[in-house]
């Protein structure tokens, strides 16, 4: 069949631009969202309070810094900690892999809030012992406890991401590298990891977003992060816009990150697209 014949084939008639039910519902819903957005803007303009803004905007900025510091430090510590966990999880030894499995299962199976309480309030029960080892100064600060809990938690998730990514690289890659005379570490670094990173990037980005969102809970253990400052502002002023502003900041932050990760992913997989 030639090209011209293929074009001659009757196309289905174009769909009628009427008002099918889906379009009515869609316009209604979009209209609802627009109204909602304008409602929020109208509320913020109506509730505008120069004194409130002057008083709490610097606190919010400081809180944003605390949130980012908490997330970045615990992500990095978690990444370091996830390496031995991944190693154990993938090792042939039943004992090591069982141990790592339990670690991962515990931290993925219980709420992060429980883990944070367990460390912040729970370790307080062992104050005498901790003082005798000289670690009490660390666990006395709510921020440190938050970082500790978050690092342990994200290490479990990151170990699973890393394991999934490494296992996604076919066995033949290992065998090929071995036949070239590379030893295991070289193979991992030069052959397997570059391929695994492409697979792992999106889950890592998701984990970062999840951590930023989860970091709001340290406000409950009296850390003055973004959410903590919002709670404080609300408790002092009973002005509901405290929470509206914080929601906007979180939403913007998460959206920027999400799009950033998508952009990086497009960049590093450019050789895979045709």
């Amino acid at each position: 069949m030639s090209v011209s014949q293929a074009i001659d084939v009757d196309r289905p008639p174009p769909q009628a631009r009427g008002w099918p039910r889906a379009r009515i519902i869609g316009y209604l819903l979009v209209g609802f969202w627009i109204a909602f957005g304008f409602g929020i803007i109208a509320y913020l303009i109506g509730a505008w309070n120069g004194a409130f803004f002057a008083r709490y905007a610097p606190a919010y900025l400081q809180g944003l810094g605390t949130t980012l510091a908490l997330v970045v430090i615990s992500m990095i510590l978690g990444a370091i900690l996830s390496l031995p966990v991944t190693y154990c999880r993938m090792s042939r030894s039943r004992f090591l892999s069982g141990l790592a499995y339990c670690y991962v299962y515990f931290f993925r199976g219980t709420p992060l809030l429980v883990q944070v309480y367990l460390i912040y309030y729970g370790l307080g029960s062992f104050r005498v012992q901790l003082e005798s080892v000289g670690l009490w100064w660390f666990f006395r600060e709510a921020f440190n406890c938050g970082v500790f809990a978050f690092a342990l938690n994200t290490a479990a998730y990151q170990a699973e991401i890393l394991r999934g990514a490494i296992e996604s690289v076919p066995r033949g890659q290992w065998e090929g590298a071995a036949s070239l005379g590379l030893h295991k570490l070289q193979t991992l670094r030069k052959v397997v990891l570059p391929q695994a990173i492409i697979v792992a990037l999106r889950p890592y980005g998701n984990e970062l977003v999840l951590m930023i969102k989860a970091s709001a809970i340290v406000a409950i253990i009296t850390v003055y992060d973004l959410m903590g400052n919002a709670k404080l502002a609300y408790a002092k002023s009973f002005d509901f816009q405290a929470y509206v502003w914080v929601a906007i900041v979180y939403l913007v932050m998460v959206e920027i990150l999400r799009h950033g990760v998508e952009w990086i992913e497009r960049r590093i997989t450019i050789h895979l697209h045709r």
């Binding site: 889906a22 869609g26 219980t110 709420p111 429980v114 309030y121 029960s125 062992f126 929470y243 998460v254």
Partner: protein, 238 residues
């Protein structure tokens, strides 16, 4: 107060706290179970809207998931718990001045968890939608079923089977998110464990207990879902 042994503290009854925490676990389970049908239904419709041909429907659904997946769960909870009474009061005072509104933390938690759960489950449903070939719809239309009938009788049964493993993950994170509702004073597992910890000063003990309860719930649900998955597989094989 004489120092009580740990076993007394963990016993069932007026001296111990096991009954309180068990009651809390019951609240946790009922909150999660009450959220599940609402979240699943909304999630299904959001996914349906996301894969529709109508751009305005897609846009509305995308805004929904962007908002509720982008906001931290705690912020959403506080927005609703503190914002809903203000809004409701404003509306109701138009008709009946002097009315006061108090939002039940169970209801607030249920609404917020449904919003979050539905925005995550909609992603799962969406990828399941994409796994179903177009011929299934066309077959349905060809034998004269309406759009809704095709969806209900042909697409939905396949969709649920494909989406099931992903929904299991959503369910597990829903179980964990219920712990957040303790912050607005719902007497669930974590809250009751916290009360026990404050009264008895055995914080580590009771928070570990709460962690074990959540772990047990996770294990129980993976046993249950494994069971469901096996029976689904058996039906498919027939």
């Amino acid at each position: 107060m004489p120092a009580q042994s740990i076993w007394t503290l963990l016993s069932w009854g007026p001296d111990g706290w096991s009954d309180d925490i068990a009651y809390g676990a019951l609240v946790t389970i009922s909150l999660a179970l009450a959220t599940l049908p609402i979240g699943l239904t909304i999630g299904f419709f959001v996914a349906w809207a996301k894969q529709s041909e109508e751009p305005s429907l897609r846009l509305a659904a995308n805004i929904y998931t962007t908002v509720f997946r982008g906001l931290p769960e705690l912020v959403t909870l506080f927005l609703f718990f503190f914002g809903m009474p203000i809004l409701l009061q404003y509306v109701i005072r138009l008709f009946k001045p002097e009315a006061t509104i108090d939002v039940d933390s169970f209801i607030a938690g249920m609404i917020v968890l449904s919003l979050i759960f539905s925005s995550y489950s909609s992603e799962v449903f969406l990828s399941a939608f994409r796994a179903i070939p177009k011929g299934q719809y066309e077959g349905g239309y060809a034998i004269g079923l309406s759009k809704w009938q095709t969806m209900r009788k042909i697409i939905l049964p396949q969709l649920l089977r494909i989406a099931f493993p992903g929904l299991e993950n959503c369910w597990l994170s829903l179980l964990k998110d219920t712990a957040l509702v303790s912050v607005v004073n719902l007497a669930e597992t974590l809250r009751n464990a916290g009360v026990a910890a404050r009264v008895t000063k055995h914080a580590f003990l009771f928070y570990s207990f709460a962690a074990l309860v959540f772990l047990a719930l996770a294990i129980l649900s993976s046993i249950a879902t494994g069971f469901i998955l096996r029976s689904l597989g058996r039906r498919e094989a027939r």
